[in-house]
Symmetry: C2
């Protein structure tokens, strides 16, 4: 029980390596509005005494619906000029989790992940089997074209020119502590531009891109999925807190230090704990991010400089 009824939510809209000069003021404004809307939507759930699980799902849905972010609508284009989505959600109280990967046609993959968690005996469903489950479960569906945006098509063409699979990253996620003291995490992504069909990144992998456990923290990652999978980074944050008695801040710093020594990937990690601490780490910019605790002003940022809203 969270006796002081503190609550907090943190969100991210992905970490990438992009030159700020390529952003027009209008683009920056649109991204700012996008993360602000997601953050406040999730925060409202918590403020209205709702569970962390509902808050992270609501925040991620907003980002999935926003074509600017690489998740749901606006997903990265794969090598077949189509999109495939991955998502996961985890309940820190029960350690229940749901996950979907390499799926198409589902407007809100995070909600399908939750459906897997709540209505099946499974944690993870993939591909056509997951799509059939979505149809049976009555989730909102969309045709392939809905998920494809002009901006992501241009990224795809640029990637082909550079003969590199790994451009065009970005992922969205949310982590939250509710008034009852329960933690939850959710992550959703369109993955890498020009990825192979059927490729799965870290987002839907419990322990890699997404992890929540009331004993320690809720975590959502973004960056090169392959490296985050190999490092099992979300569970590594948990393990450092649980077994090394680190604070949330120390644990994230240590994961970035370990990453810097070995796997060396560009990434961002957001995490919250039961003390309502929120940490947002990154080693590349822009990192679309924000958090809001209790009735305090929201913190929102894209570059180094932050902006707060009342």
């Amino acid at each position: 029980m969270n006796s002081e009824e503190n609550f907090v939510i943190a969100i991210h809209g992905g970490a990438q390596n992009k030159d700020r000069n390529t952003f027009t003021p209008e683009m920056e404004e649109a991204y700012k509005k996008g993360i602000e809307e997601a953050l406040l939507t999730g925060w409202e759930v918590l403020n209205d005494d709702g569970p962390a699980l509902d808050a992270v799902e609501a925040a991620v849905r907003v980002l999935e619906d926003n074509p600017l972010f690489n998740a749901g609508r606006g997903s990265a284009i794969n090598c077949e000029k189509d999109t495939e989505q991955d998502a996961a959600i985890m309940d820190g109280k029960t350690l229940k989790a749901g996950s979907v990967a390499a799926i198409r046609f589902v407007k809100n993959p995070v909600s399908l992940a939750r459906k897997v968690m709540e209505t099946t005996e499974h944690v993870m469903l993939t591909g056509p089997g997951a799509e059939e489950f979505a149809r049976r479960s009555g989730l909102e569906l969309r045709p392939s074209e809905y998920f494809i945006t002009q901006e992501k098509l241009e990224e795809f063409k640029n990637t082909l020119n550079h003969e590199k699979h790994t451009a065009g990253k970005g992922t969205v996620g949310a982590v939250a502590l509710d008034k009852k003291g329960d933690l939850a995490a959710a992550t959703s992504t369109g993955g890498l531009t020009n990825k192979l069909k059927g490729r799965v990144g870290d987002s839907p992998i419990i322990g890699a891109g997404t992890y929540a456990n009331n004993e320690a923290c809720a975590v959502s990652c973004t960056g090169d999925g392959e490296f985050i999978i190999r490092g099992v980074f979300a569970h590594l944050v948990y393990a450092l807190i649980k077994f090394k008695n680190m604070s949330l801040h120390e644990a994230l710093r240590e994961v970035f230090r370990i990453n810097g020594e070995g796997l060396k990937t560009e990434m961002g990690i957001i995490a919250v704990d039961r003390k309502a601490d929120a940490e947002l780490f990154y080693n590349t910019l822009p990192m679309y991010r924000g958090y809001r605790r209790n009735q305090e002003p929201a913190f929102l940022a894209i570059w180094e400089d932050e902006f707060r809203i009342e």
Copy 2:
């Protein structure tokens, strides 16, 4: 570097809860021969100065080809009366990993996982995309019927009668230390009987069913995949050794204690470390298992009583 040139391999053919009385002497003999062949095949690779990665792949291929075990041929039957396979392999030296899930038609899923690791920028490929990749990569393919055995069809019918998804577990795996001191792990499965199409268990999830890191250990799990995913058990073994300075034996005991307190699943875990220690833990029987260190006799067991071969 492993200055004493110790080497060791451990294998498992799954943990289940079955009555020994349902096993005829001929069945027991067939299972014994199956695990013996897999163990010795992997051991030969190490004895001939081969890498741990080759040894675990070779051992798992033998178990995939053997229709008695739930992996490759002899996979559990899913709710569509078909089979789908999951597999993963991880190199403890480089932390590179490859994984495939919800695939059909590939005779040796573990070798496809290795192909993903070695020839793509990805870690995990799933479903039809992974199958297309297998075709392009020239892997041995088989029709659906190849994977289906009479025994697994009967398990499927029994499962339907009991209206339970979670019967008919079992998975195969191998972990090894080679003479150079490198660790590797591999796991392969047909998953749960009557599972939904597209369902993915713990085997192909790096950190859940499969994990290897030269810093500490190589691990392969079997049991209820959903619980092993939620507990991130393979990485938990690593974290307990790395951050709590536990021995391999202490780490496995602690994971089973944690499991017993919380998630409470039937499972088996095998692991080796750089000191050539091999641990084979389980909380249900039969657990088909074995290990062999250097020129010592092989240990092989199905029930509590072991049998050794020279």
